[in-house]
Amino acid sequence: MTIMNQTAAQLRQALQAGDVTVQEVVAASFERLEKVDPQIQAFITVTKEEAMKRAEELDALDASARGPLFGLPIAVKDNIVTKGVKTTCASRMLENFIPVYDATVMNKLEEAGAVMIGKVNMDEFAMGSTTTTSYFFETKNPWDVTKVPGGSSGGSAAAVAAGIAPFALGSDTGGSIRQPAAFCGIVGMKPTYGRVSRLGLVAFASSLDQIGPMTRTVEDNAMLLQAIAGEDMYDASSAAEDVPNFSEKIGQSIEGLKIAVPKEFLGEGVAADVKASVEAAIEQLKELGATVEEVSLPHAKYASEVYYVIASAEASSNFSRYDGIRYGHRAEGVENLSELYRQSRKEGFGEEVKKRLLFGTYALSAKHHEPLYVQAQKVRRLIAEELASVFESYDVIVGPTAATTAYGLDEKQEGLTAYMNDVLTIPANLAGLPAMSVPCGLSEGLPVGLQLIGKHFDEATLYQVAAAYEEKTSLYEQLQALSGGANA
């Protein structure tokens, strides 16, 4: 087995045993990157020199000083601030922006001994679900390079799926970790809101954004979350909740666990092949001893509308910092301050971003603030309460992650399908619940994702169920064997 075909857990073991050095692992990572990235274009910035230097330092460390992610390569979504390394959010606005500090998650990764190999592509400022709104280039799905990897954490998902790094960090505001994880056949977790510090995550919608781990296996995912979670004094929205051992229940039976499947998640708009794959997965969960029952989330059908109002409104406020004064794109040849602002923002932002900022501004304007924005916040509570009520009687909610498998780079999702995509992922963001996607099969050579949503701060149970499913189906091994193009 080549180095880069191993899971993070296997690599960690090999590194601890001295079977391989950090420099060898990191070199193998770059070798794979140089071979495969020209076809998938996941990376905006590659930090080879820094990474190799760090690998050398890590190899010289005393064994007792090694952290839990010692020597493991990681790709980082380009909306996470990295000191001294360009952080662009895939936007012209921040094309040449070099941060002067590290995000809290980066400090934690450093402490844990991980090695960042580069910054990966995304939809511009995280607004999108295909990675095609990136200012720089499109990222391709490693399973089929004519298809989207999903978004907005498309680069993160592609880098892991292509075997370039066992770890990636993504961010999820309305599904941006889970959906690309589903499209690329990997494991992606959006933690409970507040579980991971947002200090250094370029803000899109502050009440929804979360950084999360993207990996090939459930065990790897729990390992990465363990390293980045925790209350942060620099993020007042981070939770005071203790960080448990996320891996503790991995390997435990799910006998007697109660699973709810919202009927709205398997309705019209979900493709037949996805439905079949997810239903088969649900059968597997029953065979493992879980009880499965249908429930209803009547207000979930408004998730998309609520999201567009709230996320756009919060973004319109957050993005006022892009004024061309202290950092970011600054227009030239302007005559006054007002023009400086207008031109810088006109030139710096892409179309999708502008559209959402304009809509957010509209939603917050005097006439519409109460009947639209505040109203959306009320419907948000209704959706959150319905989920809370389900969790009074059930442990986990299960359904598809996305309505379809990955589609063509030139295709556009419309109507009921686009709508269903939002209905599936957004409720977890609105309610702040942890939610993950695990691969549950292939359809015409493209991965299908199973979504699991848990109670607040109960990532451990999600990992328990996901791991039980992963083990029973040996899906990871199957995917590795079949991924051909993805891991060739």
Binding site: I98, G194, L337, L340, R345, Y362, S365, Q375, Q377, V379
Partner: protein, 94 residues
């Protein structure tokens, strides 16, 4: 509900985003679609429901008012293209 080119200009002024004629043509129908899409929210019965403002309900999180871990001015300006006297140089726009 409609969203006209004038509306685009109006809200763009608020958001300090320059829009030319082509932008107005582009965004008017897109925004009209979004407005109509989200209009359904206005009709939902939310009597007695409090707005949900945060992902996690924490009350004002405080710490002692002691400066710590402050970036030096040099550090803060280290990646600024043009600086002088410890400040960021901006165009003379007044």
């Amino acid at each position: 509900m409609t969203f006209t080119k004038e509306d685009v200009l109006y809200f763009a002024e608020f958001a300090h985003i320059g829009v030319d004629e082509a932008d107005q043509q582009l965004f008017a129908p897109q925004l009209e679609e979004l407005v109509q899409f989200t209009n359904v929210l206005r009709e939902i019965d939310t009597e007695g429901v409090a707005p949900m403002t945060h992902g996690l309900q924490r009350v004002n999180v405080m710490r002692e008012d002691e400066p710590n871990n402050v970036l030096s001015r040099d550090e803060m300006l280290s990646t600024v293209e043009e600086k002088a006297d410890g400040m960021i140089v901006v165009p003379n726009t007044f």
